[in-house]
Symmetry: C2
Subunit: 95 residues, 2 copies
C-alpha cells in the first residue's frame, strides 16, 4: 500500500499513468514514443521499463503477454483509497 505513494512520487511515472489513462493497452515502445511526442518527456526504454515494473508492483498497472508484445493497462482502484485515508477522519474544515 505504501508502494502506491512511492509510485506516484515520480513525475515520469505520473506521465505514464496519464498516457495509459488516455489510451489503455499499450506496449513499452508505444509508451516511450508517446511520452516523447505528446508529453515532451525523453526517457530511455530501460528507464520507462523500470518505471512500469514499479507501477505494476504498486498495483496501478497490470500487464498481459501476447506473443512478443506486453500490453499495459491502468488500474485506478488503488488510487480511490489513498486520499480518503486522511479525509475521512476530518469532519470539516475551518474557514
Amino acid at each position: 500500500m505504501g508502494d502506491v505513494f512511492k509510485a506516484l512520487a515520480d513525475p515520469t511515472r505520473r506521465h505514464i499513468l496519464d498516457e495509459l489513462a488516455e489510451r489503455d493497452d499499450q506496449t513499452l515502445f508505444e509508451i516511450c514514443a508517446r511520452l516523447g511526442s505528446k508529453h515532451q518527456f525523453t526517457s530511455s526504454r530501460q528507464a520507462v521499463s523500470q518505471h512500469l515494473e514499479l507501477l505494476e508492483a504498486a498495483g496501478l498497472v497490470h500487464t498481459r503477454r501476447e506473443g512478443r508484445y506486453k500490453f499495459h493497462t491502468l488500474d485506478t482502484r488503488p488510487l480511490a483509497q489513498i486520499a480518503e485515508r486522511w479525509i475521512r477522519t476530518k469532519p470539516q474544515e475551518k474557514p
Copy 2:
C-alpha cells in the same frame, strides 16, 4: 502540485499526517512524542521538523505561531484532487 505527491511518498510523513488527522494543533515536540509512543516511530526532532517544513510547502500543513509554540494543523484539501486526476478520465471523455 507535484510537491503533494513527493510529500506523501515518505512513510514518516504519512505517520505525521495520521497523527495530525487524529489530533490537530500540535507542536513539534508533541508530534515527536506521539510518533514514538503511538506509531512506534523513533525520529529525531530535527528530522520531524524537516518533514513538517516539506508538508507545509506542499500545502498539507499550516502553522500558527503563539509565543514560543508553533502549532501545526492539517489541510486535507490538496488530497482531494490528486486521486481524481486519473479516475475522471477512465470511463470515457476527451472530445
